[in-house]
Each structure stands twice: as C-alpha cells, then as structure tokens.
C-alpha cells in the first residue's frame, strides 16, 4: 500500500493533522468548547465554496474563513462561544451560504463531497507542504500560550485576578482551533471534524487525569485512528472518513467502558 504516492501522501497528511487535532482538541474538550469547534468547520465550508466561486484555492478560503470566525467568536466571549443556539444558527447559516455559492458555481459533486466528507487520498505534495506549515504554526502558538490557557480554562476568575487576560487567550485559542479545523477538514471533511478534534481528546481525558499523559494519549489516539482509517479504506475500498469516524467512536466507547479496568 506504500507503493503509491497518494497513499504515502495520505499517511503523511494524516500524521500531521492527527497530531494537531489531538493536541488542540485536548484543550477544546477541557474548555467545553467542542461545539464551537464544530461550528468553525461549517464556517470553513462557506469559505471554501466562496473561494472556489471567485477562483481561489478552497484550502485558502477554508483557512481564512475559519480563522476569521474563530477570532470573532473569541471576541464575542462566553456569550457566544458556549451558547448552543447561537452557535447552531451560525453553523446552519454557514452551510446555507456554502450551498448558495455552490448553486452559483454549479459545482462538481465530487468537489462538494470532498469538502463535506474529506478526501485524504487526493492530497498532493503542495497541499502537504501547506498542511505541515499550518500544523507547525498552530502547535507553536499553542505551545506559547499553553500555561495561561490552562489556568484560564480551569479557574478563570483566579486567573484574571493573577493578571491573565482572559479575552486575549480566548481569541488566540480559537484562532488556533480554526487552523486545526481547517487542517482536519482536509482529511475528514468539514462535517466530520469532530471525529478527529474531539473523539481522541475526550477518550484520553476519560483514560487519564494527568495533563501530560492526556495530551500524549490524545495525539496517539488521533494518529492511530487516522492511519487505521486510511489502511482500512485501502483494504475495504470503503471511504477513509467512514473508517476514521468508526474508529473514533469505538475508541471513545471503549474509553468509557474500559476506564474501570485502568484504575
């Protein structure tokens, strides 16, 4: 299976994205903002289809739209970032606009499917380079803000009193989430970003209560699920995104069920 360029690209892309999703997703779950991450991906759909409409690259549109939405959501603060109805409205409106842009473009069904559900086998060398650059950028940024972000996530009032700017770190974090979301969308599509961003992180938090172990486990699980999904897709000829969602769900259920055995 490694004889083909597209398979090697797929495994490389999945490795980059899984590391980013696993680590960023850990903080997303810890902060209880998973639904916000989900909504960002849908905003990315609008960005990607809009970009195609004006002749730009879908990935560029995806990144610009998610980062802009992430920063906006961060500035809106808790009023929006943790409110289900507002986020749900943004989410469906984004898909609606995406549909409208596609209508004008009379798009190819394959491209729409790739955006919505991902097409990891179509990743070329150029995309791989962009994914690597965005991945390094988002993890570097996360590394810089990790300590105050953790403090602000666990104990916001005390953090504020000790001089942490809550709004600043909320905005920076959601910008990082937006980058991670755009990366994930390349592998599993905008509709299934949850499966890589949230599934492994939530399972890891079930399995260990230590931050360091949790972060490592989250990244490892995301990597295993992404690679496993691609391998299973190769052998079965079923879509890789299906396998990744299946593995993610299976790992999460096993984590809930198996926790009693670990302790």
């Amino acid at each position: 299976m490694f004889d083909y360029d597209f398979m090697r690209h797929a495994f490389a892309a999945a490795a980059i994205v899984a590391l980013v999703a696993g680590l960023v997703g850990y903080f997303l779950v810890l902060r209880g903002q998973t639904f916000a991450g989900h909504a960002l991906a849908h905003v990315g759909f609008t960005g990607a289809t809009g970009a195609v409409l004006v002749g730009a690259s879908p990935l560029a549109g995806l990144v610009v739209a998610t980062v802009a939405a992430g920063i906006g959501m961060g500035f809106a603060g808790e009023r929006l970032a943790q409110r289900d109805v507002a986020i749900g409205m943004v989410l469906s409106l984004s898909l609606g606009f995406g549909l409208l842009f596609l209508h004008f473009f009379t798009a190819y069904a394959t491209q729409v499917t790739a955006l919505l559900f991902g097409n990891v086998l179509a990743v070329d060398t150029d995309t791989l380079v962009v994914l690597l650059a965005l991945g390094v950028l988002s993890l570097a940024a996360l590394g810089v803000i990790a300590r105050p972000l953790l403090f602000a996530s666990l104990q916001p009032e005390l953090a504020e009193a000790k001089g942490v700017n809550l709004r600043l770190f909320a905005v920076l974090f959601l910008a990082i989430v937006a980058l991670a979301t755009a990366e994930c969308a390349q592998i599993v599509g905008v509709l299934l970003v949850f499966t890589l961003m949230v599934g492994p992180a939530a399972a890891a938090q079930r399995l260990t209560s230590r931050i360091g172990c949790g972060l490592a486990l989250s990244a490892v699980l995301a990597l295993a699920e992404a690679w496993g999904g691609i391998a299973l897709a190769y052998w079965t000829d079923w879509p890789s995104s299906f396998w990744i969602t299946a593995l993610s769900a299976a790992v999460y259920v096993a984590a809930i069920g198996g926790r009693g055995l670990v302790r």
Partner: protein, 315 residues
C-alpha cells in the same frame, strides 16, 4: 512590591501593618451603586467574616480588592500598594460553579495550573514548583486528592483543592468568596476550621464571606457587615446588634441570641436563613420546619469537629 518574579517562597519585605486600607470607597456595578463612601482597614493577620444580604456587595468588594472592579471613587490599598491585578500576595477563591464537576483533570494538575499560571509557555513544573504544589496540598490535607479526577471529588474535597490553589504564591491575604455554599453543616465546620488553622499558622489576613454568621463564630476576629451601600466593621458584639444592623438596613432589625448562636431577624423572619434558602440548595440541611426559638442546628453539633463545640462556648 511583593510580587517576586518566581512566586515561590514568602513574599519579600516587612509585612505592612494593615492588609487592606480602604478610603472613602464607592463601588458601582452596571450603574448601580453597591457601596458608597466606605472607609475601613483590615489588619495584617486577622480573620474577618464578610456578611450581608444578597447583592450587598460582598463579591464586588472582593473583586475590587483584586483590582478587577475599578473604584468609582476613593482608594483601596492592598498590603501597602494600590489594588491591582496580578498581585501574587493575594489569594482568591471565587464562588464555586458547577463547571468544575465535569473536569476530568487530577487535583494535582488543578492546583499546579496556578503556579506561574500567568506566564507564557508550556505548563511544566520545575522541582520548586512541584514542592510548592505539594506544600499547598499538604496545608489543606488534600494530598490524597492529588491523583483523583476533579469529577470524582465531593463538594468538600473540591473546596479544599480550591483553597490549596489560593495558597500558591504564599499569599499574605486570602479572599474567600462563599466557601461554605452548598456544603452541609459538618463540612462547613471543617472548612472554617481549616481556614482558621491556615490563617493562624501562616499569620495572614483572611476575608471570608458567608451567608450565615454562626458557622464562623468561633473563628472570626472581626466581622464586616455590608448592607444598604454601607459597611460596619468590628467585633461580633459591636456589629451584630439591633442598632448597627437597623442603621445598615434602614429598617428595624432584631438580633436574637439563642444558646450561643446569633440570629438576625427582620419582622420576625430570620434574614440570613431566608437569604440562604432562596439563594441555593444545600443538601441535607433541613430548613423547612425551623422556628427560631427552637432552632437547634443539630448538624453543627454532631459534625464531629471539636471546633464546633468550642465555637458555642466562645460566644
């Protein structure tokens, strides 16, 4: 002044005489005046209970002391410096919210997140940081909670972890906002006893807000009563009197002493308990049938905490 770069070891410099000095302070929140023209001083090592009805400004005053609410008028000096955010010498325990109960992080990581938490970088602790966390956990007797996820701790255990968080940075002033909320009487007495022992052992000032005076009676040096935009600070005997409280509330208040307990009444209603009951549900403590004369708070006395017994004799 007293915020050394690394928040390890006791804050440098001689302790100022007063922990908090408030001059002609007016605080407003969303256009409403919460406190008006209040002046008072809290000494360097005293336990002050902060009482008053809902909305009387207990939380707002604490947030102002932390530099989170700017004064509309007047000044606040904390340990000799103007109140400002980022003061390592002030520990703060906000009112507990439900959001902690679903966190799956260990107690150790929860407390450790405070160590240099305002600084950029990865949340890694050096040896001194680990010692600091271990010390804080030991001080509150929460060493065994270190490896347990927050989601699997009880309300009382979570309070101890929150208290451990406030000790990081070796503060000289602790601001504790309603630490007794939603605890049953036995756990209330345990928390009060713990805070009192920390306060005397470390020689620090503590502001402890509460709905009820009685659980604090054995521990507090003075009481700060807020009401009607005004404040009264003094010993229990000085402040908790019909005259003083009537002036604060602007209506007739009676203070009734029963078996070493004190009840603040307005028109025959026990005000503290009314406020208490409306504000939240605190499991196990039955208010439904109490009448004031015969109110015996059985749980307080049977909590197994000897401090509780002493509290009653002291009054």
């Amino acid at each position: 002044m007293n915020a050394p770069g690394r928040t390890i070891g006791f804050a440098a410099g001689p302790a100022p005489k007063n922990a908090i000095e408030i001059e002609a302070l007016t605080l407003a929140l969303g256009g409403r005046t919460v406190l008006s023209d209040v002046s008072l001083a809290i000494r360097g090592a005293e336990f002050v209970g902060v009482l008053g009805p809902n909305g009387s400004g207990k939380t707002t005053l604490m947030r102002a002391i932390l530099g989170l609410v700017p004064p509309a008028a007047g000044t606040i000096r904390v340990l000799g410096a103007t109140a400002a955010r980022g003061n390592a010498a002030t520990g703060y325990m906000p009112q507990v919210r439900g959001s902690l109960a679903d966190k799956r992080l260990s107690g150790w990581d929860f407390v450790a997140s405070v160590v240099n938490g305002h600084r950029l970088g990865l949340p890694l602790l050096d040896a001194a940081g680990r010692r600091e966390v271990a010390w804080a956990l030991d001080m509150v007797g929460a060493r065994e909670l270190a490896s347990r996820p927050l989601a699997e701790t009880s309300g009382g255990e979570r309070q101890r972890l929150l208290l451990a968080q406030t000790l990081i940075g070796r503060p000289r002033l602790l601001l504790l906002d309603e630490p007794l909320i939603s605890l049953d009487p036995a756990h209330q007495q345990a928390v009060v006893a713990l805070v009192k022992s920390l306060q005397t052992e470390l020689g620090i000032a503590v502001l402890f807000s509460a709905h009820e005076l009685n659980p604090l009676l054995g521990a507090l040096d003075r009481v700060l009563y807020l009401g009607g935009g005004h404040a009264a600070l003094g010993t229990v005997d000085e402040v908790i009197t019909g005259t003083v409280l009537s002036r604060l509330y602007g209506s007739t208040i009676d203070v009734v002493h029963v078996n070493g307990r004190i009840f603040v009444m307005s028109g025959g209603n026990d005000m503290e308990h009314d406020a208490h009951r409306h504000d939240h549900d605190h499991g196990g403590h039955d208010h439904a049938g109490h009448d004031h004369a015969g109110h015996d708070h059985a749980g307080h006395d049977h909590g197994g905490k000897n401090r509780s017994g002493r509290a009653h004799r002291d009054v």
